[in-house]
């Protein structure tokens, strides 16, 4: 499903965020990505979503080499991914409902079908009652869950989560991990970046550890 082959990523300015990274994630796997702050976790996730491009090596997602994809094809790749951003990236000029419906509008769903799907997604993250609220009025954990709802509303086959439990207390974190577990059970491929030791120990699956941009074995 996801394959990295000798990937290097150098940011403008010369900093090497990823060095010779190779790994493979099979369809339906749930994998945790961990490492110190600045180890390159977000960078690695960004490469999968083609938000950044590798300097060398190949990143293959769903059988397509991202590095060679023309930019016109990127949107269609991204529609198969559910992205949960470290900084949420919610829009504060509209309600929770309108934030979550955005991916469906982009794909051109009609009103009735979108509303149904949005409510199902909000129900899953326990925010059905807050659909009319502006996300700015929500707590950090609730915002995180809106972000998850937006990522899953389009029923992606791959979910990439960047610190989905960052700054959350253990109860919230457990809730969210429970949600991910349920996706894992229905066959979604998950890659979760986190440095929350507690979570990793509790849910222990396959672990990828980054250190200064290099994958530890």
């Amino acid at each position: 499903m996801i394959r990295f082959n000798q990937v290097y990523k150098r940011y403008p300015g010369g900093y090497e965020a990823l060095k010779n990274v190779s790994f493979e994630i099979a369809a339906g796997e749930m994998v945790f990505l961990t490492g110190h702050s600045g180890a390159g976790k977000s960078t690695l996730l960004n490469l999968i979503a083609a938000i950044e491009r590798p300097n060398s090596g190949s990143v293959v997602v769903n059988g397509q080499n991202i590095a060679k994809l023309r930019s016109g094809a990127l949107p269609y790749l991204r529609r198969n991914l559910g992205l949960i951003f470290q900084d949420h990236k919610l829009l504060f000029d509209r309600s929770v409902f309108d934030n979550v419906v955005l991916p469906l509008q982009i794909c051109g769903f009609d009103h009735r079908e979108s509303a149904k799907r949005v409510r199902a997604a909000l129900d899953k993250v326990g925010l059905l009652q807050r659909e009319k609220t502006n996300p700015i009025a929500l707590s950090g954990g609730e915002q995180q869950r809106v972000c998850i709802a937006r990522a899953i509303v389009n029923r992606p086959s791959i979910l990439l989560a960047d610190e989905p439990t960052g700054n959350l207390d253990a109860d919230y974190a457990n809730d969210i991990m429970g949600i991910f577990k349920s996706f894992h059970q229905v066959g979604v491929t998950l890659l979760i970046a986190s440095h929350d030791e507690g979570i990793l120990q509790k849910f222990g699956g396959r672990l990828l550890v980054l250190k200064h941009g290099e994958l530890q074995s």
């Binding site: 938000i51 930019s71 990236k89």
Partner: protein, 302 residues
């Protein structure tokens, strides 16, 4: 196909809502576009009217035929008859050489010079009014008359029409230059409006791209906005011109009465009006497209 249609209808409604969300600035923009467009378009309409008037006035041009100096009374009457019988000739007017000299004295102020002449240098002449207008028929008639041996000189009085034509050409050129310059200005107005809109929607654009929006999807609402604003601006220009013509016709009516004529300014034709609307809508679209393209290019990852 259905998805495509739904998206477009949704964007159109969204655009209308956005236009009405800021009524004052939308109105001002539309007015600016309307006024700027009404200048070249109004000039064009005036030119069209002048041309129509000129064709009306110059509709019956004349041919002057001059007899040779040595032709006598008999020749003169014979030629007069021949001319009248010619099928292409409507009316014939005789200008005797004495009267021509008299006119020359009065109109040119050369009385002294002419008074000193011992002999009238002017020939007898006929002014021929052809019964068919049109440059080709006229020139054919002139060429034929030129072959008559008794006629010294045949002159088609089309110089006036040529001068007018040249003047109109000049006018049209001026309109064209004005139109081109103002078109740039209009595209720039839309460019800037859209740029400001984009600035307030940076986050939405960024997030939309991250979750799979195509560039076309991002562009669409802005293009609709530019198109709609341009269209309304064109409609404003049309309204400005029509109302102005109406007002001008009001004052023309009293003027025309004094001169016992019935000259009226005609509004732009249907096809000219349509062209105006389409062109201004296109300019709006173009300004918007350039604006979004520039932004998308800026945020493209490299």
């Amino acid at each position: 196909m259905k998805i495509w249609l739904i998206q477009h209808v949704r964007v159109l409604l969204f655009t209308l809502r956005r236009l009405f969300a800021t009524p004052l600035s939308s109105l001002l923009n539309i007015l600016v576009i309307g006024i700027a467009l009404s200048l070249p378009m109004g000039l064009y309409v005036l030119l069209q009217n002048v041309q129509g008037l000129a064709e009306q006035v110059a509709g019956t041009p004349q041919i002057s035929v001059f007899l040779s100096l040595d032709s006598d009374k008999e020749d003169v009457t014979r030629i007069g008859k021949q001319l009248k019988q010619h099928e292409a000739v409507g009316r014939v007017e005789f200008v005797p050489r004495d009267r021509a000299l008299e006119q020359l004295k009065q109109t040119t102020g050369l009385a002294d010079v002419i008074g000193g002449l011992t002999q009238n240098p002017l020939p007898d002449a006929y002014v021929v009014h052809p019964n068919k207008a049109g440059a080709q028929a006229l020139e054919a008639l002139r060429d034929e008359l030129q072959k008559w041996p008794e006629l010294e000189h045949v002159q088609l009085d089309s110089a006036w029409a040529h001068k007018l034509e040249a003047l109109l050409k000049f006018g049209r050129m001026a309109v064209l230059i004005l139109a081109v310059l103002l078109s740039f200005a209009l595209a720039a107005v839309t460019f800037n409006t859209i740029r400001l809109q984009i600035l307030t929607q940076r986050d939405e654009i960024e997030v939309s791209k991250l979750i799979g929006a195509t560039n076309a999807f991002i562009r669409r609402p802005f293009l609709y906005f530019g198109l709609l604003q341009g269209l309304l601006g064109g409609a404003a220009a049309w309204a400005i011109i029509t109302v102005s013509l109406h007002l001008l016709n009001g004052s023309l009516a009293s003027l025309a009465q004094l001169y016992a004529s019935s000259f009226m300014l005609h509004p732009p034709s249907a096809s000219d009006s349509l062209t105006l609307l389409l062109f201004s809508a296109y300019l709006g679209w173009l300004g918007a497209w350039l604006s979004v393209a520039q932004h998308l290019w800026q945020i493209e990852p490299r």
